[in-house]
Amino acid sequence: MAQTKIIQRRIRSIKNAKQITKALEVVAASRMRKVVEAVQRSRTYGNLASTIMERIAHSQEARQHPLFSRAADKPTLYIVITSDRGQAGAFNSNIFHLTIQSAKTERYRPQVVVYGRKGARFFAHLDGIELKGAYEDIADMPSVNVFAPLIEMIDEAMADGQIGAVKIIYTEFISPLTQKVSSFQLLPINHLMSNNASTMEQSAQQRGKTVYEFEPEIKDVLDEAIKLYFEAKLMQARIESAASEHAMRMVAMGNANRNASDLIDALTLELNATRQAAITQEIAEITGGAEAIAA
């Protein structure tokens, strides 16, 4: 009988775990649905910001601006977007993997600013990088003000010449079943011009005719445009990461839930078999005893 008690206890504990994974799956699914709509909106905004930035980048004035020139021979700042919570499959480990890979190719000790508690813990113990800042508890769809301290920091570090480039490492949301870890070069902005050669030539021809006037002054326009561009790109990276996080959690919890069901099925079979064995044993003992008395 002791055997059946143990199995019963295991079944009960797996059932509890299953309830938790089920709940997490449902929550992740509903949160993902909400964020996916925001992903589309943030992409529209981000694309438009890129288009405007591209136009600006072609002007003579912008070429002299430090943020548009070639990457200086300086350390790179990585902005890494992770999650606050775990149970999301390989979401955070994929991000860490790419960050470490990119950091290895750097000539200088890279600087890191991380969003999300999991990332903050991970990078706090990592050698070979300089942790510049860690932000936790960022909303799925944050207000743009969340990034204000970071943007200020980038501006200062670029002005002082402490960093030469800025890259965002985030998870791109492709579909609920597919997400891709990506690295986006935020600064310098000249990558827009060399991104892809054929469309570049076409648009360069068109743009050859268009010479933009800047009002009131190029500096004011650039400052405002760069701020909006940063906000747009950071926002997009955050929202895409949030959508991916929920999607990956949903899938991971769905798998956990199925595994729990399989385990319960297997254990239930085992429980029945042991119980039956115990009953058979008991009957055998009784009949055996009765026969012994009769003999």
């Binding site: 943030s42 529209t44 905004y45 438009l48 009002e215 004011d220 909006l228 747009a232």
Partner: protein, 141 residues
């Protein structure tokens, strides 16, 4: 006709053919029609207005409160991005009034140059919202 795109972080607010766009920039309000010279400009917190058809009276214009942003004009298309754009459906006079009071407080209590700058920006933004709310009221009369 011009193609006008107005996009904020919370999505596309306007995307259609228009006759005229009035944008408050740091150098004053700019009226943009078709074949305007190529221009990139930084906007000022204020009210952005759109006239859809040539003969539309001022009362038929559509208005948006903006907190800054960047406008790009290439003669055929006007693109405007800002992190916060309020449509006239979203605005309420009462809330705008409260926000304006709060911004005035902030301007009074600002203890640094940066804070004062921010407070001024907020003040302009809330007065733009209030202006928008009043414009809306006028139309409904």
């Amino acid at each position: 006709m011009l193609h006008f795109q107005l996009v904020s972080t919370s999505g596309t607010k306007y995307d259609d053919e228009v006759y005229e766009v009035l944008v408050p920039t740091r150098a004053g309000v700019v009226g943009i029609f078709e074949d305007h010279m190529p221009l990139i400009s930084a906007a000022q917190p204020g009210v952005l207005s759109v006239r859809k058809k040539t003969n539309d009276p001022d009362s038929a214009m559509e208005h948006f409160a903006i907190n800054g942003g960047v406008v790009e004009v290439d003669g055929k298309t006007v693109r405007f991005i800002a992190d916060d754009i309020t449509t006239s459906d979203e605005v309420s006079e009462q809330e705008a009034n409260i926000a304006l009071k709060r911004a005035e407080e902030l301007v009074k209590n600002a203890d640094s140059q940066v804070a004062l700058h921010e407070a001024h920006r907020l003040l302009h933004h809330s007065s733009a919202k209030l202006h928008l709310a009043q414009l809306k009221k006028r139309h409904h009369r």
